[in-house]
């Protein structure tokens, strides 16, 4: 069996690969939590730690670049897991022939995004590889942080009746990358939603006591909701008409035959809060993005499954991304 692109799409095949190859060999208490960031007990304290690799192509896009993404991805994983990001380390793998000015641009972008997120880049490494060995530039970032407070978001804190709120319209980053695919002949590029979430999550943590948060990345909203349902062994019920999708993303999906609920985001998260905190959470999120919306609830029914109520009040499963989402005409 060979590794395929589907193994990297963040959906079912990625999950299966992790279960089959990695978790059995790297088994540890922190890793077994399957959280966006691991909780490490060190000298009586709890440190949050996470790592992410960034291989996006094109490396520059509307709304950001691979550098900004490399900072956002890691600080956001820490933040949604309940940790204030403090330090990042970054490893660069650069293809021979990559322009110095482009490298400077990417690194400057990281510097700016790190400053905006309140993190310090504390360690780094660079490697240059032979032309053709990789696609221009890959970056891996690891990050550590300390808990915002004593209330760590976790699957265990989820229970039926809690509200699920999304921080803004979904699918922009995925749509951005598709719009750059030269095979698809689109004249216009959609802007990515790539942004750091540290500030907004700091506010939410302070006032709204979220039981759980997850940032929406590969596999999109649908995949994140499935991970939540599976992790908590509870059901998730969402309303189709409540899920915010911008016209542009919808238009791109119409043209390519894609589903926006499976498109990646890089600056969006879901927060799950008690009903009592729903209004305040929504207000805080809407101050950042007017499209933030309550999309559904945690439920005791259909544990492990995500059920979508359609615009016609029918119901159907909203499954995890099973495979690579490919443009279709059929």
């Amino acid at each position: 069996m060979k590794i395929t692109r589907a193994h990297g799409n963040g959906g079912r095949q990625t999950a299966e690969l992790l279960e089959k190859v990695f978790f059995p060999r790297f088994s540890s208490a922190p890793l077994n939590e399957r959280a966006d960031a691991s909780s490490l007990p060190i000298a009586g304290h709890t440190i949050g730690h996470t790592i992410d690799g960034f291989v996006v192509s094109p490396y520059i896009f509307e709304g950001g670049d691979i550098g900004k993404l490399a900072v956002c991805g890691t600080v956001n994983d820490l933040a949604v897991s309940g940790f204030r990001p403090l330090y990042l380390s970054a490893a660069f793998m650069i293809e021979e022939g990559f322009a110095l000015s482009e490298l400077e641009r990417v690194v400057t972008s990281m510097q700016q995004t790190a400053a905006a997120s309140g993190v310090t880049i504390a360690a780094g490494d660079t490697k240059v590889v032979e032309k053709g060995s990789l696609d221009k530039i890959f970056i891996t970032t690891a990050g550590i942080g300390t808990p915002f407070d004593d209330e760590m978001p976790s699957f265990q804190r989820l229970h039926p009746g809690q509200s699920i709120i999304v921080s803004g319209d979904v699918g922009r980053h995925g749509a951005c990358i598709y719009s750059h695919n030269s095979d698809l002949g689109l004249d216009q590029h959609v802007a990515s939603d790539c942004e750091p979430l540290v500030d907004i999550i700091t506010q939410i943590k302070k006032s709204c006591h979220p039981a759980f948060m997850r940032d929406l990345t590969r596999g999109g909203l649908a995949t994140a909701l499935n991970e939540i349902a599976a992790g908590a062994s509870l059901g998730v019920s969402v309303q189709e008409t409540s899920i915010p999708v911008s016209s542009q993303v919808a238009g791109l999906c119409d043209i390519l035959g894609l589903d926006p609920l499976y498109l990646a985001c890089e600056g969006r998260f879901v927060a799950i809060v008690d009903a009592a905190h729903q209004a305040e959470t929504l207000q805080l999120l809407r101050a950042a993005h007017a499209s933030a919306a309550v999309i559904g609830k945690v439920t005791a029914e259909h544990p492990g499954q995500v059920l979508l109520t359609t615009a016609f009040r029918g119901t159907r499963i909203l499954d995890m991304l099973y495979y690579e989402m490919l443009p279709r005409i059929c």
């Binding site: 319209d169 119409d254 005409i329």
Partner: protein, 76 residues
């Protein structure tokens, strides 16, 4: 067996029998060789890179009305 989407003709390229169309803010080029008398502002149904038919004027007006209503979501 046919994903098709409605799109508005924005610009014709007569020599190449194609046109630029817009679908909810996304622009792409499609062939209009299967249709006659297409002008900018017309709405067409696009499938596999070609416009298959013109939408009726009433439908075009409906689409415009809906898009105007939805316009605010794009303003982020």
């Amino acid at each position: 067996m046919c994903v098709g989407y409605p799109a508005k003709i924005t610009e014709l390229v007569p020599d190449l029998k194609c046109a630029y169309v817009e679908c909810r803010g996304i622009r792409t080029a499609v062939s209009v060789a299967l249709l006659d008398d297409i002008v900018p502002g017309d709405y067409v149904l696009v499938h596999a890179g070609a416009a298959l038919e013109k939408l009726t004027r009433e439908t075009a007006a409906e689409i415009e009305a809906v898009l105007e209503e939805l316009g605010s979501l794009n303003d982020e």
